[in-house]
Symmetry: C2
Subunit: 190 residues, 2 copies
């Protein structure tokens, strides 16, 4: 898949119920490990969750698509993700670690898309409950969760000008529309 | 370029002195605008600097390769970047905005690599001085700088285990070596 196709990637919040293969999740983690990070310190660690009962136990502690909540919250066993990756830090998080996490997750999202796998980057998750399920000692070190699975929806991107709303929304056919500013809307040239 | 080639991307800190084309920088910004971000809020803005005297004026206010500093600080007019992109926020930055910036920068780095362009993500930059040069009212809103240019070096990645040092270093031939943890070193499977 060439880069222009990778840029068609969108967040997927509804998943088909066909499990992922371990080598697919490993390929996604390969993209995480090779992402940019501050001073090459590599202070992020990953918990890859593929065991179905554990994936199911995590799901209620996540929140998908807050702008259309609860309409894009996956239904367990129907549209739910088939794997999660917990993105954790080796030390108490700061802005630099969040930037590292953003880079690693973006890289994983491309890797997933390249394999025909959908992903949701989740910032609204219950750290304490998920930490208990994953045996993570310090819940605050679970920075983000990434939900994975084969896509069960096809989001639609719309390019908009600087004065437009960027709220994503569901249309009458239950398709999610995602407005994205054009380059001109967000760039000053000097 | 397919995804496995994109993953060969490494930070480039020495640049050839051939200028970039505006459409190349625009393609890099296209990758920024399509990056993942929290709630699709798109709170990042970009200042693309291609004017040679302004690029030169910014350079002294940046710090490249802190682990080998000053040995990978570009020399003006010899190994210096030929463009900068300032990654700015529309509001006071928080962890979520830093995560968004990380995602956008990772996406830009892939876009650059795809075009044969090298990039350095800079976190150590003098905000006040650069803000004055770029007419940015609130210096704290310049989260990161990205230096761009045609590559003038070929960094070498090394895959290492969990107990290895991740300090990057210069060898006797002045080539930079970048140790990266393997997937096994940073992943727990559940």
């Amino acid at each position: 898949m060439d880069f222009s196709e990778l840029l068609r990637r969108r967040t997927v919040r509804r998943f088909a119920q066909e499990p992922l293969k371990k080598e697919e999740v490993r390929a996604i983690l390969e993209a995480a490990r090779l992402a940019s990070c501050a001073a090459n310190l590599q202070r992020l660690r990953y918990i890859a969750v593929m065991e179905p009962s554990l994936v199911a136990a995590i799901l209620p502690h996540t929140a998908f698509g807050m702008m259309v909540h609860p309409k894009r919250q996956p239904v367990a066993g129907v549209t739910s993700p088939t794997a999660f990756i917990a993105v954790c830090s080796t030390c108490d998080p700061n802005e630099s670690l969040h930037a590292d996490a953003g880079a690693a997750i973006q890289s994983m999202e491309f890797a997933a898309w390249n394999l025909g796998i959908g992903a949701t980057w989740l910032g609204s998750h219950k750290q304490a409950e998920i930490a208990a399920l994953l045996d993570v000692e310090k819940p605050g070190r679970i920075l983000y969760m990434v939900a994975l699975g084969r896509p069960g929806e096809t989001p639609c991107r719309e390019d908009v000008d600087a004065d437009a709303s960027v709220k994503y929304y569901l249309d009458a056919d239950d398709c999610i529309h995602v407005p994205k500013y054009t380059v001109d809307a967000i760039t000053t040239w000097k």
